[in-house]
Symmetry: C2
C-alpha cells in the first residue's frame, strides 16, 4: 500500500495540515519543519494520491488528446511526431497526457470528449486535423473547457492556436515547380472539409493562376492523407492520356505513395517527374529520391501547443492567441534534375 500524507504526519508527530503545507511550499511553515517534512516524505516514499488531490482541487493536471484515427489509417508518422511532442512537453510541465483514438466525426469520438469533460478527466484538450467548421470547437467552447488547436476553424470562438500559412506556403511550392518549367502540375488532396485541404488547395490554385497555368480538374485528386491514397491517386494521374510532369501532395505521407507508384510505372522521379510533399516529417529525407517538402517543425509545434494550453489552464493566458509558425521550403532531389519533358497527349 502506498503511504499517505497521514502516515507522514504520524511519523513526524505533526498534523496533516502542516505536512501538506510544507510540501506545497506555503510560507507559513518554519524552515526547520519543512526540511524535516521533505526528508521524511522522501524516506517514506510519499507521493500524493492524485485522485484525492483532483477531487479536492478540482483539477486533474492532465491534458487530453484524441487521435482522429479513421478506420483505414490508424496512425502515421505525423501523428507519431505530434504525440511525442505532446508527451515530452506535458511531462515537462508536470502534467499527464491522456490519449484516446476515435474515428473522426463519429459518435464514439463525441462520447470520448463527453466522458472526459463531464467526468472531469482532463483540464484541457489539444485538437488537430481541424475542420472548416468543427463541432469539437463549438462543444469545448460551450463547455468552457480550455483547448488549443493546430490550425483554426472558421467558427467564431476565442481560443489559442498555432497555424501555418498553408495557402502561402503551398503557393511557394507551386512557384518552385513553375520556375522549373512545369506546366502540368497535379494536386493530391484530402477530405475537403479539412482546414489544411482548404488552405493548401487554394494555395495550389493561386499558384497556378499567378503563373498563368490552366486549372485542369483531371489533375486534382482526393486522397486521404495516407501512402495508400497517394499510391492509388498517382496511378490514376500517371496513366492519364496527358499526365502531369509534377505532382504535389497535401502531405508527405501521400507523397510516399506517389513515389512508389511512379517507380513502379517506370517514371524516374526527379527527372521524368517531380514530386513534392508537405509537412517535413522527420525521417522522410530518406525516401528515394529524397523528398522536396515544406518543413514545419511538428514536434516543436506540439510542444508549443501544450505550453499554450497549460498557460490557459493556469490562467496565465487570458486573451486569444493566434501564433503563426514559419515553415521552410526544403528542396531535395524529388524535384531537382533536368527540365520536365513535354508530354504530348
Amino acid at each position: 500500500m502506498p503511504v499517505t500524507i497521514r502516515e507522514v504526519a504520524k511519523y513526524l508527530n505533526l498534523s496533516i495540515t502542516t505536512v501538506s503545507r510544507a510540501l506545497d511550499g506555503y510560507s507559513d511553515v518554519s524552515e526547520a519543519t519543512r526540511q524535516r517534512v521533505m526528508l521524511a516524505a522522501r524516506e517514506l516514499g510519499y507521493l500524493p494520491n492524485r485522485a484525492a488531490r483532483q477531487l479536492r482541487r478540482n483539477c486533474t493536471e492532465t491534458i487530453g488528446f484524441i487521435l482522429p484515427a479513421d478506420a483505414s489509417r490508424f496512425y502515421d508518422p505525423f501523428s507519431a511526431e505530434f504525440i511525442a511532442g505532446l508527451g515530452v512537453e506535458t511531462t515537462k510541465q508536470g502534467f499527464d497526457l491522456l490519449v484516446s483514438t476515435a474515428p473522426s466525426e463519429s459518435a464514439s469520438e463525441q462520447q470520448a470528449y463527453e466522458r472526459w469533460i463531464h467526468g472531469r478527466k482532463v483540464d484541457g484538450i489539444v485538437l488537430n486535423r481541424v475542420h472548416l467548421t468543427d463541432w469539437r470547437i463549438q462543444y469545448l467552447s460551450q463547455n468552457k473547457l480550455p483547448f488549443v488547436t493546430l490550425e483554426r476553424s472558421l467558427d467564431p470562438f476565442t481560443y489559442p492556436s498555432l497555424e501555418i500559412k498553408g495557402q502561402h506556403w503551398f503557393k511557394t511550392l507551386i512557384d518552385h515547380l513553375a520556375d522549373l518549367g512545369h506546366h502540368r502540375i497535379a494536386f493530391i488532396g484530402a477530405d475537403p472539409s479539412l482546414k489544411i485541404q482548404a488552405d493548401r488547395f487554394s494555395g495550389y490554385q493561386q499558384g497556378l493562376a499567378e503563373h498563368d497555368l490552366p486549372y485542369d480538374p483531371d489533375l486534382v485528386i482526393r486522397g486521404d492523407l495516407s501512402s495508400e491514397g497517394g499510391y492509388r491517386s498517382a496511378r490514376i494521374l500517371l496513366t492519364l492520356p496527358a499526365p502531369p510532369s509534377a505532382i504535389t501532395c497535401i502531405d508527405d505521407q501521400t507523397a510516399i505513395g506517389v513515389l512508389h507508384a511512379a517507380n513502379e510505372l517506370g517514371w524516374l522521379v526527379g527527372q521524368d517527374l517531380a514530386v513534392a510533399g508537405f509537412d517535413g516529417i522527420e525521417g522522410f529525407e530518406h525516401t528515394q529520391p529524397p523528398l522536396t517538402t515544406v518543413n514545419q517543425p511538428v514536434f516543436d509545434i506540439a510542444r508549443r501547443l501544450v505550453q499554450l494550453l497549460v498557460q490557459q489552464i493556469t490562467g496565465k493566458l487570458l486573451v486569444e492567441e493566434k501564433v503563426h509558425i514559419e515553415p521552410e521550403l526544403v528542396i531535395r532531389q524529388s524535384t531537382a534534375g533536368r527540365e520536365p519533358a513535354v508530354h504530348l497527349p
Copy 2:
C-alpha cells in the same frame, strides 16, 4: 458545472445511494426505479466524476505507457502503430490510456513510473523495448502493479507477455538470403542490452552458421533503431574494401536509412545489394524498392497486450501467460533480383 449524482437524486426524490446502485446495475433496486434513474441521468447529462470514483474504489480505469524516447529518436512509426493499437483497445475496454515519454534507463523514466504507481494514476502498465535485465520489471513486480510486456526479459518474475521468436525469424531471413546465394551478409543492430537485439542477432549468427558462412565482425554494426543510424552504418559497410552483398537490419526504420545510403552511393538495391528489415511497419511497402521484412502485426500486438493487461487487472487472468505471435516473412524487391555479384577485395 457538471451535474453530480446528488442532483440526479434530488431531481428524482431518491437517495444518492439508490441512484448510485441503479446506475451500477446492482440487483437490489426495482426495475421501475432503475428505468427512471437511467432516463434522468441521461436527461441531465450526468457522468460520474472519475476522481471521486477513483478515490473511493481505489482504481483508476486507466493504463499507462511510457514511450522509451531517447534524445535522438523521439518517435518512430513502430511506436506510432503501437500507441494507436493501445489507444484503440484501451478505449474499447472502457479504460483510458495515459502516455508519457522518458529517455530509456534515465532518472526521469524512473520518476515517471514512481509517480504513476505511488500516486495511483494507473491500474496497470504496458512495457515494450524490454532489456535483457529490466529494472522496470523488477520494480513493477515488487510494487505488485499489474503489467504486461512485449518481449520478455531474463528476470525471473511472473507476468503475462507477448513475444515473437526473434531468433527463429531472423534466421529465416538469413536462410532466404543465403538461398539467394549471398555470402557476405551484414547486420545492423542496436543496444546489446535490448532483448530484440539479443534475439535477432543470435538468429543472424545461427543463420550464418547453418549455411557455413563465416562470421565477420566487420559486417556487424551497432545502429540505434533509427533511419539515421541505418544510414550511417550503411555508409560504413558499403565503403569497406570487401563490402557485403546483403544487409539485414534489426528493424525497418534502420533499413530505410540503408536504402538511402545505398542509393546515394550508387548501389542498385535489389540487384547489386539486398536489404532486409524486420517488423513489417505499416506503410513501408512503399519504399523504393519495396522492403523485404518479417511482418509482425504491431497494431494487433498492442491490442492484445491491452487485453491481457485488463484481464490481469480485473483478476480474470491469474497465471503467467506467455503468448507467441507468428509473424511472416514478406519478400519484396529489395532482396529480389539477380544473383549477387561477387565482390573481390
